[in-house]
């Protein structure tokens, strides 16, 4: 059974109907062909109507879609000769963060990202993209490798958040995140981070301190999940759609706030509908981001990154 988001039900129903009609033996029949053509027109209108102005909560659902391309999908299609590296050298290998060496556009790079699964079995293995401290420490190890060999760093963000569990707390989840924030701010190589799906709070931020922070059109980035926010501030989980709206977690709003640098467009209905479209867009965006950063000295890279975060904030100075 195909996964379907509530709000796209009419589209998927019509799509299914159309598929069935096309499979009919009489599909060549002019009358049926005419009907197919008519339905295709209707479908296009319906898609436009439903997908062209998604609410914040609907975008959160698109960002969480099980068929949405993941970090490894982008590494496979945008990069070449990926060599995955494992382990934090301290405790274990955390499969919810992947990373290693790869070529991008002919250049050697280090690439790191949160990794979710495509099905339940994979998701259990990947812990639904929720990293433990060892995941962040593996990422940090790879960042240091990037610096040592003077390779640009590319990070993909796609996590509901850092894992809240007993072992994670015992091994210093907070410290692992904090260490990455501090280390990334001083890493003497270009850093580009792309939020490709879920940007869940500190767990996402731990791979985000970059010279350029990009976001896919339907990705979200938030200080807390809409559900978490709803249960605390509304005392009602079912208010998640309201919370999603209030949190201003969508790419367009974050671009307006100056929190992200660029929005990468997705096809109508989300990246999973035409992954190749997003792959091309993302490739171009990474290419131009890196080209600009290659021109900066390491001193300027650090200053550029420092100022980028230093100026984020909204307050008044009533002197």
């Amino acid at each position: 059974m195909k996964f379907m988001m509530d709000f796209e039900k009419p589209v998927v129903e019509l799509e299914t109907k159309l598929e069935e009609l096309k499979k009919l033996k009489t599909a060549g029949d002019p009358e049926v062909a005419q009907q197919i053509e008519f339905l295709e027109g209707q479908l296009e209108k319906l898609r436009q109507k439903i997908y062209s102005k998604l609410t914040s909560w609907q975008r959160v659902q698109v960002a969480r879609h099980p068929d949405r391309p993941r970090t490894l999908d982008y590494i496979e299609t945008i990069f070449s000769d990926f060599i995955e590296l494992h382990g934090d050298r301290l405790f274990k290998d955390d499969p919810s963060i992947v990373g290693g060496f790869a070529y991008f556009n002919g250049n050697r790079t280090v690439v790191i990202g949160h990794q979710k699964g495509k099905n339940t079995k994979e998701n259990i293995h990947r812990n639904f993209g929720m990293a433990h401290p060892e995941g962040y420490r593996k990422a940090l190890r790879l960042m240091k490798l990037a610096e040592k060999f003077n390779l640009p760093l590319i990070c993909f963000i796609d996590t509901p958040g850092a894992y809240p569990g007993i072992g994670a707390e015992e091994r210093g989840q907070a410290k692992a995140i904090a260490d990455n924030l501090m280390a990334m701010s001083m890493l003497e190589v270009p850093i580009v981070a792309v939020n490709i799906g879920e940007g869940g709070s500190g767990g996402a931020l731990a791979l985000s301190v970059a010279n350029r922070l990009l976001m896919l059109e339907n990705a979200y980035y938030s200080v807390i999940t809409p559900e978490g926010c709803a249960s605390i501030l509304w005392r009602d989980d079912s208010k998640a759609p309201e919370a999603a709206e209030a949190l201003c977690l969508t790419a367009d709003k974050l671009l307006d706030f100056g929190i992200i640098d660029e929005v990468i467009s997705e096809p109508l209905g989300g990246a999973h509908r035409h992954p190749e479209f997003v792959v091309n867009e993302l490739k171009e965006a990474l290419k131009s981001s890196l080209e600009n950063l290659f021109n900066l000295s390491s001193e300027n890279l650090l200053e550029n990154r420092y100022q980028k975060y230093r100026k984020i904030g909204s307050f008044l100075n009533n002197a």
Binding site: I166, G172, L181, S185, S208, L316
Partner: protein, 284 residues
């Protein structure tokens, strides 16, 4: 197991009660949130708000933290004029504007952190103190900006930095502006460490979320007050996620010490002396 322990009710985990410090009229009795002992307020204040029966360290206000640490309580506050805005126009059950107004009335402070300079054991320090009573000590733009400015001043003047933390994490009502303060404060601290300026962080009850995952744990030496709840995720979130009861004493200062996450667990009466000793050693 001794037989009397069978009947001993085990506490689940340390309870948070942000309203526990609500102003009470003079001379009122205060109940310890940990053991339930009722103490006379004056008596409790003489005891630095530490329960005489169970040694539970009750939360101090920002002013009390300054009085505890700064020589003669002298303190020059910095960035007094930075005030909170409502960048998202946030409205939940209560509007953000209302939340801030109430917090200001309740605490007499304008934000969840007070920063400034003072002397500690005769040595000039940059001091930041957080107040949990102000929107759960949460970090929004003003908290992040004040901390970043304090860190930058300490770096520039080569003055040792001391921050007393107490926070529920990043402030939801400022959305991503809040989250990014974690990056901002951590980046400022990277430069402080590069300049070899000492930084001592004091974690008090409770310190969780985005503050723990940024400046609170990026110090050269991390001290924790006895029994303080310290962690990344709050106990309730963890219990809901793993669907298990948490072990006794989970996320207390003592638990963190055992797991190598803090350097020392300090009784409040020894706190100032400990910081002075550390700075005597580090800030030569």
């Amino acid at each position: 197991m001794p037989i009397n322990e069978w009947f001993h009710k085990q506490e689940k985990y340390i309870k948070l009660s942000p309203d526990s410090k609500k102003e009470m009229p003079e001379g009122v009795w205060i109940k310890c949130e940990h053991c339930g002992m009722v103490c006379f307020q004056k008596e409790l204040e003489r005891n630095l708000k530490v329960c005489p029966k169970c040694d539970f360290h009750m939360s101090l206000t920002a002013a009390e933290k300054i009085a505890l640490l700064a020589d003669n309580g002298d303190f020059d506050e910095l960035d007094v004029n930075l005030t909170t805005t409502d960048p998202l126009g946030f409205i939940a059950a209560k509007s953000y504007v209302e939340v801030i107004r109430e917090a200001k009335e309740r605490t007499d402070f304008s934000e969840a952190v007070i920063t400034g300079t003072g002397k500690l054991g005769g040595r000039k320090i940059c001091l930041g103190v957080m107040d949990f009573a102000f929107v759960g000590g949460s970090m929004g733009s003003v908290v992040g900006e004040k901390i970043a400015r304090l860190v930058e001043r300490a770096t520039k003047e080569k003055t040792p930095l001391v921050i007393v933390c107490s926070s529920g994490g990043a402030r939801m009502q400022e959305g991503m502006f809040s989250l990014m303060q974690m990056a901002k404060t951590s980046a400022a601290l990277a430069r402080l460490h590069d300049a070899c300026v000492p930084y001592i962080s004091i974690l008090t009850h409770p310190t969780t979320g985005g503050v723990t995952a940024s400046f609170a744990t990026l110090a050269d030496v991390i001290l924790a007050e006895k029994n303080a709840l310290i962690g990344f995720a709050g106990p309730r979130v963890i219990e809901q996620t793993i669907r298990q009861k948490l072990p006794r004493g989970f996320q207390t200062a003592e638990f963190l010490l055992e797991h190598g996450q803090v350097d020392l667990v300090v009784h409040r009466k020894d706190l100032k002396e400990t910081v002075v000793k550390l700075l005597d050693f580090l800030a030569v």
